[in-house]
């Protein structure tokens, strides 16, 4: 099958047919990758909901060079041969991203100082780059009480941006999903209908896929800010999952266990609840070594370690 040539922000890349603009941009990497709040490459059918990844298509294809009339969601639009896409070079796309960020924050409580997700929150990163400095809305934000869904997962509905990732992860890796999005429009909320515990073996992955602090680990609740913990790659023999995890350590204390997230914040291999919640002793794990963290991440603050690639770039 011939490769399709697509130009994203003046960078040409050749991709296979059936690739989305988002994934083509991810092949290029760097700043041209649109941010994604709902798209999750490991979850089938995700994407198209949050609209943060909107890009401008300046030329539809080589055969039909007309531009697309509206901004398109890059996570859902397939590339065509000769397509010209503008992401950071399009003022229109950047302006829309700012508006989308404002929309996502309409009901968001901005309680980052309290929230456990702060420091690894995608909404925080997004609003840091694209957010307005002040709030323009005066209306009451909708508020919910934080509830426990299952004994290990805390649901804080105030922070939810309705990305549906947690619903999809339950659909994909469990046989029977017990939570979902109830209500419509402004009234949508994630719930278990009648307070019912989510107690599947893999339910903890809802925490990892949540881009904001709506679903957080109850065993890690308020233990430490993420940037004071030191992430270590580790593994163990597990009958249910691959057992490959990241341990968040503080000295010899093991604060929490998460899946291994790549640079787009996506977990490659989902881990089971046994690994996530029950194995909280250092001796339960075989530690491979400290995890490489991007130098600009707040998690690398005060750790003084840089990845080999970074140091080479600094010398240059």
């Amino acid at each position: 099958m011939p490769l399709l040539k697509v130009t994203i922000d003046n960078i040409e890349v050749e991709v296979e047919a059936g690739t989305t603009i988002m994934n083509a941009a991810r092949i290029i990497g760097g700043k041209v990758v649109p941010p994604a709040m709902c798209y999750y490459s490991k979850l089938e059918g995700s994407g198209g909901k949050c609209r943060t990844c909107l890009v401008k298509v300046a030329q539809g294809s080589a055969r039909d060079p007309r531009p697309m009339p509206k901004l398109v969601a890059s996570c859902r639009t397939l590339v065509q041969d000769g397509m010209v896409v503008q992401n950071i070079t399009s003022p229109e796309a950047m302006e829309s991203r700012q508006a989308i960020t404002e929309f996502l924050l309409i009901n968001h409580p901005l309680d980052c100082p309290v929230c456990d997700q702060a420091g690894e929150c995608h909404l925080q990163d997004l609003s840091y780059v694209h957010g307005l400095q002040e709030t323009r809305t005066v209306e009451e934000r909708r508020t919910f009480k934080p509830i426990d869904i299952g004994d290990k997962i805390k649901l804080n509905m105030n922070r939810c941006i309705l990305c549906y990732r947690c619903v999809m992860v339950a659909d994909q890796i469990t046989e029977k999903r017990v939570h979902g999005v109830l209500g419509r429009g402004d009234h949508s909320e994630i719930s278990t209908l009648i307070v019912k515990a989510v107690d599947n073996d893999f339910s903890g992955n809802m925490i990892d896929v949540c881009p904001v602090g709506a679903l957080t680990d109850n065993t890690f609740r308020f233990k430490s800010r993420v940037w004071f913990a030191k992430p270590m790659d580790a593994h163990r023999k597990c009958s249910k999952c691959s057992g490959k995890v990241v341990l968040w350590m503080k000295g010899d204390e093991l604060l929490r266990v998460t899946g291994r997230k790549d640079k787009y914040g996506e977990v490659g291999e989902f881990i089971c609840n046994d690994c996530r919640f029950e194995q909280k002793e250092k001796n339960d794990w075989i530690i491979e070594g400290p995890r490489t963290i991007e130098r600009h991440s707040v998690i690398s603050q005060n750790h003084y370690e840089i990845s080999p690639g970074e140091s080479v770039r600094m010398i240059k």
Binding site: P113, R221, F222, S224, F228, V298, N302
Partner: protein, 189 residues
């Protein structure tokens, strides 16, 4: 050699005259300078009895403020600790229990909050980083101690008492507050 100032004198080892050799004129000259200083205004003060007036924005001992209802403002977000260049601040957060709403403003609070005053360089970055207007530097000075241990100030020293509130209004005037809100300035980000 080129000199840096015009006050430098080239040293020589020429033979001294008799007046120079007996040193008395030189001693008188030196002593007169010393004695003249006895009658000058003193530049020092005897500290514990006498205290200098401090600037209202002096960066001295920290205070953890309470709000007007007496609840602790600090929510243990850790931004002061991550902003601290000397890594003097450590904290441990805890969850507010039902019934403690009159003690802590947010659902999370600092159970332990410690500043190592031997490490602190009083730069005021913690105050700048604080999103909750909880920590401020004051015009008080950190007392000297004989041992190292008492320099680790815990919440018992840092949190202000409601009957002895510490005035930080000079540090937090409306103009300063508006300036801090304005995140257009690069150093405020």
């Amino acid at each position: 050699m080129q000199t840096l100032t015009n006050r430098s004198v080239v040293a020589s080892d020429k033979k001294m005259t008799i007046l120079e050799w007996i040193y008395i004129p030189a001693i008188i000259k030196g002593m007169s300078i010393t004695i003249r200083h006895f009658f000058r205004k003193k530049t020092t003060i005897s500290y514990p009895e006498q205290k200098r007036e401090f600037s209202k924005v002096y960066r001295g001992q920290h205070v953890l403020k309470r709000d007007d209802e007496g609840r602790e403002r600090c929510t243990a977000c850790g931004l002061c600790a991550v902003a601290c260049p000397a890594e003097a601040i450590t904290m441990k957060a805890a969850e507010r229990k039902p019934g403690e709403e009159h003690l802590y403003r947010e659902e999370k609070y600092a159970e332990i909050y410690e500043i190592n005053m031997l490490r602190c360089i009083f730069c005021g970055d913690c105050e700048d980083a604080c999103p909750k207007e909880a920590i401020f530097l004051t015009d008080r000075i950190v007392e000297s101690q004989y041992k190292r241990k008492p320099f680790i100030y815990g919440k018992d020293i840092l949190v202000e008492a409601m009957d002895l509130r510490i005035d930080i209004s000079a540090r937090q005037t409306e103009a300063v507050y508006q300036f801090k809100l304005d995140k257009r300035f690069a150093h405020n980000k």
